[in-house]
């Protein structure tokens, strides 16, 4: 039996033992709570993933589309000129990164929806995701050619095999995506029982427009590969032409817009329109596009017949040189000897003082408002980050009929589509400038082109329909309309074997500077971290001069 003094002695022993035991007993009690991440949730809803996908599409459109790649794609496509090569290297990693971040999210969404007991209610959502996946995959493939696709984005399986992804041929990517697009076109439904995203960033759940968008993309991509794989592409073109296509010049402009995305930024992380249209871009109006806007080189602009000239570009600001102030002076697209230019035409100070920073600027610039559109606080009516336009769709239809691609050649239908395309383009761009709240100087007075303005273009010898020259005309006008989508214009240029407009002066100069640029190199993590597959795809020669499969 324990005695009193013993009890006291043992008190300390027991206390210490209890203390140790308490630590042991509670040793893992709060661990999971303590280690749970506070910076973000451990799961995501369909809506959250969908919005996240939209964010990455926006980043790709903004940073990759407007910034670094635009510095190169404008002179490559001759949609504009630069007076010295960009300091930014000819690389494009943003679209790659954003796509491969989206791909597993898209796949996870599709899996979740398919596995849901009420999967039938997710048909529209499934179709939207498939359309976006196809759009993003093919546009990315047009930068790089072959790339990881069918086995990509599967790291969350936990299998180490999925960390190193084999490359798919560009053709396989196209066919897979075209099949997804067909599924979407055939399954979009207006049934009231469908799940819908409460924030649908692209088209605000307008299923009719989604269907048109998906079908128009089919036309774009099937025509893109038609010359390489007409047996697959032909039936798709034929089918697409029987289904709804984008048609309204304004309402059917598909892209990331202020209308559907309140608070959208067009200058994410200091990159985007505002960043591109700065001194570093050295961007000027090139002679190639000028030649399609003006009948002559009169610097007073008396030869301009296309209203888009005033929207895309502005006059120079030279006060001392021999070219005169306020003149239309295109920068030679491919100067024989390099010519520099001065002034600071894209300086934000021009909001307050229109002229000072133009001093010393010899050549016509991109319209100042392209840098400011959507980037001034509270601005409305900004040009969206365009995915696809009604005008482009019209030109694709015109091309199909003019070429007899998938359908019988039919110049009449081609001409109708061509005229519709030009009209649509003129309407869109004029409306865009009219609606943009930042546009002040040289703002159009109405949002729709007058018939005189339309006729001025449609009847001009450089534009007027001509069966003998149909494809050139179609490609030229499509190319102009792709003014804010230089990457799509680049694809058009490559798939048509450079049938898009090009300046006739000094083609050798163009060839030397830009002719070798056929694709982007894969991001360096591919050669470093996915080397075996990268080797298999490139043979160790990941060259920017290698033509991708779609290129002629």
């Amino acid at each position: 039996m324990l005695k009193y003094h013993n009890i006291k002695q043992w008190t300390a022993i027991i206390t210490t033992t209890v203390f140790i035991a308490v630590i042991l007993a509670s040793c893992t009690k709060n661990f999971q709570k303590e280690n749970a991440s506070y910076s973000g949730p451990a799961s995501a809803t369909l809506q959250q993933l969908y919005t996240g996908i939209g964010a990455n599409l926006d980043i790709a459109a903004d940073i990759a589309g407007d910034n670094s790649s635009a510095r190169w794609l404008y002179p490559i496509t001759q949609l504009g000129a630069v007076y010295a090569a960009s300091d930014y290297s000819y690389i494009q990693g943003t679209s790659w990164t954003e796509f491969y971040q989206n791909l597993p999210a898209m796949n996870q969404m599709l899996t979740t929806m398919k596995a849901s007991p009420d999967s039938a209610t997710y048909i529209n959502a499934e179709a939207m995701v498939k359309v976006l996946r196809a759009y993003e995959a093919i546009e990315l493939s047009n930068f790089y050619g072959d790339m990881p696709y069918s086995k990509a984005g599967k790291a969350f399986s936990g299998s180490t095999a999925d960390l190193k992804v084999p490359y798919d041929k560009q053709q396989a990517i196209y066919l897979s995506c075209l099949s997804d697009l067909a599924w979407a076109v055939n399954h979009f439904t207006t049934s009231g029982t469908q799940f819908s995203f409460s924030n649908e960033f692209l088209l605000a759940n307008n299923i009719g427009q989604w269907k048109k968008f998906a079908n128009s993309l089919r036309l774009r991509y099937a025509l893109t590969v038609y010359d390489k794989d007409n047996s697959d592409a032909g039936p798709i073109i034929a089918d697409a032409l029987t289904k709804p296509l984008l048609s309204d010049p304004v309402a059917d402009e598909i892209g990331l817009s202020q209308v559907n995305i309140p608070n959208i930024s067009f200058d994410i992380s200091g990159a985007g329109r505002d960043a591109f249209f700065r001194q570093e871009s050295r961007a000027r109006m090139g002679s190639t596009l000028w030649n399609l806007f003006s009948d002559n080189n009169n610097t007073d602009g008396s030869g301009i017949f296309d209203l888009r000239c005033n929207i895309f570009f502005e006059r120079n600001g030279d006060t001392t040189g021999n070219k005169g102030i306020g003149k239309w002076v295109p920068y030679p697209q491919n100067p024989i000897t390099p010519i520099t230019d001065g002034g600071d035409p894209y300086n934000n100070q021009r909001d307050q003082d229109w002229t000072t920073n133009k001093v010393g600027n010899l050549y016509s610039d991109y319209n100042y408002y392209w840098g400011r559109d959507g980037n001034i606080s509270g601005s409305t009516g900004a040009c969206p980050e365009i995915f696809m336009s009604a005008a482009e769709t019209d030109f694709l239809v015109a091309e199909a009929y003019a070429k007899g691609a998938g359908v019988a050649q039919n110049y009449a239908l081609a001409q109708t589509a061509y005229v519709a395309g030009v009209t649509s383009s003129l309407t869109f761009w004029k409306n865009m400038a009219f609606n943009s709240s930042v546009w002040v100087v040289n703002k159009p007075t109405s949002g729709t082109p007058t018939s005189a303005e339309l006729n001025s273009v449609l009847t001009n010898a450089k534009v007027a329909w001509n069966t003998g020259n149909a494809l050139s005309l179609i490609y030229a006008q499509e190319w102009i309309d792709l003014f804010r989508q230089p990457s799509v214009a680049w694809t058009l240029m490559r798939r048509t074997g450079s049938a898009t407009p090009a300046d006739a002066i000094n083609p050798a100069g163009y060839k030397q500077n830009y002719g070798g640029l056929q694709r982007y190199q894969y991001p360096s993590d591919e050669s470093q971290l996915n080397n075996a597959n990268w080797q298999a795809a490139t043979g160790g020669n990941d060259l920017i001069s290698t033509k991708i499969w779609i290129a002629k």
């Binding site: 919005t51 996240g52 996908i53 491969y100 996915n530």
Partner: protein, 1254 residues
């Protein structure tokens, strides 16, 4: 499986208060229990129920219950038969009478001692008559006369014994002519024969360096002889001898194998402390700091609660060390050196096994002062003043001023002209990139050139504005940017105007005393530092209380508390290109943007009379923000206020003679508050900004253990076994918000005073960091005859940062110490070989991971318009296991000539595998990285310490200690399929990177090297008007071709590090000298690359001064400024490529600008700026005069007084870097230690200190 369902989301945050409660309760319970224990000791109510037991064991029970001590001859009891006894609540007399009932023995009680003696008349009376004990009082002191508390005093041949009190005093009953055995840990035991009863003073002599006491893991004091691993102790006084700015700096060069670096040597900057090399591929490789049992967070203090090692571990080697953040220092910067009693460095996992995870990198154990009894008032006062003098500046040329390619068109370069046609100073922002910023080639007429050849930055990247390729300076009148005409002339030291002499002052007052209850020391220290840069200073107030309390003879409590209040005003920004607020880095700016003709005029033009920023600064050159350097220096103010409380209570209770309970409670609590006020730049007071950032961090340590110990467990064997548990919990929370302006109300610094367009910018950010580790451990110590010692430990940790299947893990350790000189008869060599010990140990440790990494975290989106979206996690976490380290160590401690010469040697081999790392994977997999266990590192090395008392006489002595260490840190394996991982870079992949490659040393430096032709010659690229090697037209320039891939340029691992300290004493004068050194280890010098490329280095003027080859400028003028880059060129158009000797004479500009500097846009040969970075330094010097005690004490007030002249970092004995580039200016304290950039001037400091005792 969906990972999203694995864990519940965090929903509450009440952990902290709960832990505090547990801590409080535990402390109260332990103290209460022990107080009861001591009260029980004097009870006279005895209860015993025993059968057939020895008399001795019954006496022991009585002793325990009564508090009385028995006194008897052992032999007397040995003859007594066994007895049986049953008493309940009996008195002492009753009990004793029953015990001795049938025996020939009787007793007498003398005070609290029971004397057992034979009964009168018994037959053993004659021989066994015991002398009556006499009471002896005495005192045990050391050879300095300081009392030794806790010394053991025993009577030889009996069980009687006691322990000295706070004054070293004891009293004990001893028979006449009895022998006292006095022992104390760390001192030689002594036997004293008692004669008479006069008070004794027993002086114990320290047992020498080889038997010193070290504090080991968990605060356990051990004699060095018993340790099977290397541990080194340094006293606080030795660390603090020359008033180091902080403890880490005070340890530099003093401990073998301890590598301490302080980037740029700026006072107040954080330090990197690595023991025996890096054990982690990524993340924290620094030693653990423990102060009085409190595990301290020594991470660099960063805004927004950022944790550097956390960031380093997770960012997959993407750290760009060209732009590290402002260094705000770390804990060791604010810990007051004056309060340190001793510092023990436990090297490697063996020593630190008990600290588990974080101890794997070695442990710095700091023990603070607890006070001693002193003569006089017990007050000590120290004052020291050091002047910090920036004296060693990078050398530059003084002949050619500002200019870039515009000066390469003619032998008679012209100046730029302003609007009035006057020559102006060049390098107005944009000059190099403007109309004449092209490589000369298609010269048209002066001032008019074409772009042929292309912009130079396509070949060499972007130079800084310090580019000094301009015309020769000969006093030509030039209009400066402020409109004033000044001569174009050299500046003898272009960097000097940015620095000034700083100073550091420390005042410390402490009161220390002791009594029967214990000791107490209270101190206050104020330390101030005025930096060597302008408008930057800091001050620290430290209040420290340390005490050791004897609650009862068997219960002792050590308690310490420090309150540290640190105020840092504008910590210098060394590197940043531009701070988010505040300034551009001064090191970066000076080395990169200041040309040879620099005139320091901005400072005087900074502010208008109305207080606003002078708009004329807009016209100043240097477009990276330097034009506002002085405005920012004086108007953008950041104040970091740190309030820290560190408290520790350590309780030690002797429950029974064989059981001790030990409890430690430690708390480290601090708040870091950053207030940033950027004074408005406009007169109206609206264009300012304001930021507030508050971090709160709590770290709790609880440790409790039971120690079962038994001397003479078996014959000659002593044993102790400890069983304990430990709890470590750390919790950081930070909230920060910034008002970027414009303000609504002028000059009001308030977060809500915002009048801008985006109110969301005011949204605060939050950061957290929570981690918990619980452990149980067992520790067995066995010793045989005090010369063979075996320690075995086992620990099991539970860490909150792993998944449940892996969060429990075990690791053992074992060590053996063998003092062979005591075991083997070595009398033959005893004259010179006095002490020898072998030690051997093997240990394992395991390291869990960082918080928040084991599950999936979906990424919230910041993209405007999509802010409700989520992205999939960028990292896929596998179910990681803890990282493991195994360490083997063998060594010897040898003493010669009666310990006049001591040699300690250690060889170690540490293998760290199962590394946890965030391995990058290609983005096409859907993630950027996976968290995996992969890879292994091995550290092998030797450490040597030799300490000698060269001369030792009463008037003169000379001691010398040399320590040296070599460590080899190899990468054994990485993730399968990956042979290389990046640690960090300087300007990305075209710059210089540090990588770990399988088979390489940790810390290899990579960059582009030369490309070689088949014959081994360097290949030169010829620059033509239309590009490289086209063969079209004349050769405009030459540049070395770069290797196809980046190659290894160097290895930052030093071959040998160490220090030599010497103490000379002559009477009351002493001289102390410490030199330390680093031999080997390469560095890539960004400073050298920059000044060479910019034409600032003295080396670059050789050809410009006419010593080059004849060269014709584009305008036809000629000068001897040409060079031919030695090497071969490819014959244009040849296939297969043919190489011929390069014979093109080009402007010498190409040799320097073309081959040294480049930012991240052009690959360039980086091999030119690699150096072997060896140096030796006079680190510490002091001359001290201690006034004679007799003299001082005549004042009746003073007890001691000494004066010292002190000097720190006085000069380099040797360095291998050229142009006086700072050899200790490695960038930051992270794992990238082979890159130098933005070095500050070398700073020496000198001053004096006074120490007075009252």
């Amino acid at each position: 499986m969906e990972f999203s369902t694995l864990y519940e989301p965090r929903n509450e945050y009440r952990r902290f208060s709960k832990i505090l409660l547990v801590m409080k309760l535990t402390t109260i319970i332990l103290i209460t229990a022990c107080l009861h224990l001591s009260a029980a000791s004097f009870s006279q109510s005895i209860t015993i129920s025993e059968k057939n037991v020895s008399l001795e064991s019954v006496f022991k029970k009585i002793e325990k219950q009564s508090g009385y001590t028995f006194w008897y001859k052992i032999d007397l009891l040995k003859k007594a038969p066994k007895i049986s006894l049953a008493v309940k609540d009996a008195t002492l007399d009753e009990t004793l009478n029953l015990c001795l009932k049938d025996l020939p023995l009787t007793y007498a009680i003398v005070q609290s001692t029971i004397v057992i003696k034979p009964k009168a008349g018994s037959n053993i009376a004659e021989v066994m008559e015991l002398p009556v004990p006499i009471k002896i009082t005495g005192k045990v002191v050391d050879d300095q006369g300081q009392p030794l508390m806790g010394a053991s005093v025993k009577v030889k041949g009996t069980t009687a014994g006691t322990v000295t009190d706070i004054n070293g005093a004891f009293n004990i009953d001893v028979p006449e002519n009895g022998i006292l055995l006095v022992s104390y840990i760390g001192f030689k035991s002594q036997e004293v024969t008692v004669s008479g009863n006069k008070p004794l003073t027993i002086i114990l002599v320290a047992s020498g360096g080889l038997n010193e006491v070290v504090v080991t893991a968990l605060g356990i004091k051990r004699e060095t002889r018993s340790l099977g691993y290397a541990a080194q102790t340094i006293s606080g006084a030795d660390m603090d001898k020359v008033n180091p700015p902080d403890i880490a700096v005070g340890l530099m060069g003093k401990i073998a194998g301890l590598n301490i670096t302080q980037p740029n040597g700026v006072e107040g900057a954080s330090t990197r402390i690595v023991v025996r090399g890096n054990n982690n591929l990524f993340g924290n490789n620094q030693a653990l700091v423990v102060v009085d049992n409190v595990i301290i967070d020594n991470e660099p203090v960063q805004p927004k609660g950022a944790v550097q090692s956390f960031a380093d571990a997770l960012n997959k080697g993407n750290t760009d060390v060209s732009q590290p953040p402002v260094d705000n220092g770390s804990f060791l910067n604010s810990m007051n050196p004056d309060d340190i009693e001793s510092i023990d460095v436990l090297k490697g996992p063996t020593a630190a096994a008990l600290y588990g995870a974080r101890g794997a990198n070695g442990v710095i154990l700091i023990v603070t002062k607890k006070g001693t009894k002193k003569k006089g008032f017990g007050v000590d006062y120290n004052y020291s003043l050091r002047i910090n003098d920036p004296y060693r500046f990078i050398q530059t040329q003084h002949e050619y001023g500002n200019g870039m390619t515009e000066d390469l068109y003619s032998a008679n370069p012209s100046f730029y002209q302003n609007g009035n046609g006057q020559n102006r100073e060049e390098q107005i922002e944009g000059d190099p990139y403007g109309s004449t910023g092209n490589i000369p080639g298609a010269y048209i007429s002066p001032g008019v050139t074409s772009a042929a050849g292309g912009p130079f930055y396509n070949y060499i990247g972007f130079p800084g504005d310090g580019a000094s390729w301009g015309p020769k300076m000969s006093g030509q009148p030039l209009v400066w940017w402020d409109g004033t005409t000044r001569p174009y002339s050299p500046n003898s030291n272009i960097f000097q105007s940015f620095y000034k002499k700083g100073n550091t002052q420390t005042q410390n007052i402490s009161v220390s005393g002791g009594g029967d209850l214990g000791t107490l020391r209270v101190s206050y220290t104020r330390s101030t530092n005025d930096a060597i840069t302008y408008n930057s200073n800091n001050s620290t107030n430290t209040f420290n209380i340390g005490s050791s309390i004897n609650v009862s003879p068997k219960v002792k409590i050590d308690a310490t508390a420090s309150y540290i209040n640190l105020n840092k005003f504008n910590p210098p920004n060394i590197y940043g290109e531009s701070g988010s607020s505040g300034n551009i880095g001064v090191g970066y700016m000076t080395v990169y943007n200041i040309p040879a003709d620099y005139k320091p005029i901005e400072r005087g033009l900074t502010t208008l009379p109305d207080g606003s920023r002078n708009p004329i600064l807009n016209q100043a050159p240097w477009g990276y923000g330097q034009q506002y350097y002085w405005w920012n220096t004086y108007n953008d103010n950041t104040t970091l206020t740190q309030n820290q409380l560190i408290g520790s209570i350590s309780l030690n209770a002797e429950i029974t003679p064989w059981l001790r309970a030990v409890g430690n409670v430690g708390l480290d609590y601090y708040t870091n508050q950053y207030v940033t006020q950027d004074y408005p730049t406009d007169a109206a007071g609206l264009l300012g900004s304001y930021g507030y950032d508050l971090a709160t961090k709590t770290t709790n340590n609880l440790d409790g253990r039971l120690v079962f110990h038994k001397d003479k467990l078996l014959k000659d064997f002593n044993a102790s076994f400890s069983l304990g548990a430990r709890h470590y919990y750390t919790n950081m929370y930070d909230i920060a918000s910034n008002n970027p302006g414009p303000f609504n109300y002028p000059f009001v610094f308030n977060l809500t005073n915002y009048n801008g367009a985006t109110p969301t910018v005011l949204n605060p950010t939050e950061n957290r960091y929570v981690q918990e580790i619980n452990s149980v451990y067992g520790l067995l110590n066995l010793s045989y005859k005090n010369y063979l010692f075996l320690d075995i430990s086992g620990t099991n940790d539970w860490s909150s940062t792993l998944r449940p299947t892996n969060w429990s893990y075990f690791y053992p350790s074992a060590s053996l110490s063998f003092v062979f000189t005591d075991a083997i008869n070595m009398s033959a060599v005893k004259d010179w070989f006095s002490y020898g010990k072998l030690r051997i140990s093997e240990a394992e440790s395991a390291n869990a991971y960082l918080p928040y990494q084991n599950g999936l975290t979906y990424g919230p989106n910041n993209t405007p318009g999509f802010t409700t979206g989520l992205n999939l996690p960028g990292t896929f976490p596998t179910n990681i296991q803890p990282q493991r380290s195994r360490s083997f160590e063998i060594g010897s401690d040898l003493g010669f000539f009666n310990d006049r010469l001591n040699v300690n040697f250690t060889y170690y081999d540490t293998y760290s595998d199962n590394q946890i790392l965030t391995a990058p994977v290609s983005a096409s997999s859907g993630v950027n990285s996976v968290l995996i266990n992969s890879g292994a590192l091995r550290n092998r090395g030797i450490e040597l310490t030799v300490a000698g008392k060269v001369i030792k006489t009463s008037n003169f002595s000379w001691d010398i200690t040399v320590n040296a260490a070599h460590n080899q840190n190899k990468i054994v394996a990485l993730e399968p399929g990956i042979n290389s991982l990046q640690l960090g870079s300087w300007f990305g992949s075209d710059g210089v990177t540090m990588k770990v490659d399988v088979g390489d040393n940790y810390g290899s430096i990579y960059g582009y090297g030369y490309k070689y032709a088949p014959n081994g010659q360097k290949i030169v690229n010829s620059v033509y008007a239309d590009g490289y090697n086209t063969g079209n037209g004349p050769v405009l320039g030459s540049q070395y071709a770069t290797s196809d891939n980046i190659v290894k340029l160097g290895d930052a691992t030093p071959i040998l590090t160490g220090g030599i300290s010497q103490n000379f004493r002559y009477k009351n004068f002493s001289l102390y000298v410490l030199t330390d050194f680093k031999i080997g280890g390469q560095i890539w010098s960004g400073d050298y690359a920059t000044i060479m490329g910019q034409g600032l280095a003295p080396e670059t003027v050789y050809e410009r001064d006419g010593n080059g080859l004849p060269y014709t400028y584009p305008d036809g003028t000629k000068a001897n400024v040409g060079v031919i880059l030695p090497g071969v060129i490819a014959v244009p158009g040849s296939s297969p490529v043919q190489y011929v000797q390069n014979t093109s004479v080009v402007n010498s500009w190409w040799k320097y600008a073309g081959n040294y500097q480049s930012w991240d846009n052009d690959p360039i040969v980086r091999a030119n700026s690699i150096f072997n970075d060896s140096w030796g330094k006079l680190r510490e010097l002091s001359i001290t005069y201690s006034l004679p005690k007799e003299f001082v004490q005549q004042t009746k007030v003073l007890q001691t007084l000494s004066f010292s002249l002190i000097g720190r970092d006085l000069f380099y004995l040797f360095t291998t870097l050229p142009d006086k580039i700072n050899p200790e200016s490695t960038v930051g304290t992270g794992n990238v230690q082979g890159i130098q950039f933005g070095g500050l001037p070398g700073v020496r400091s000198y001053g004096f200190s006074v120490k007075a005792g009252f």
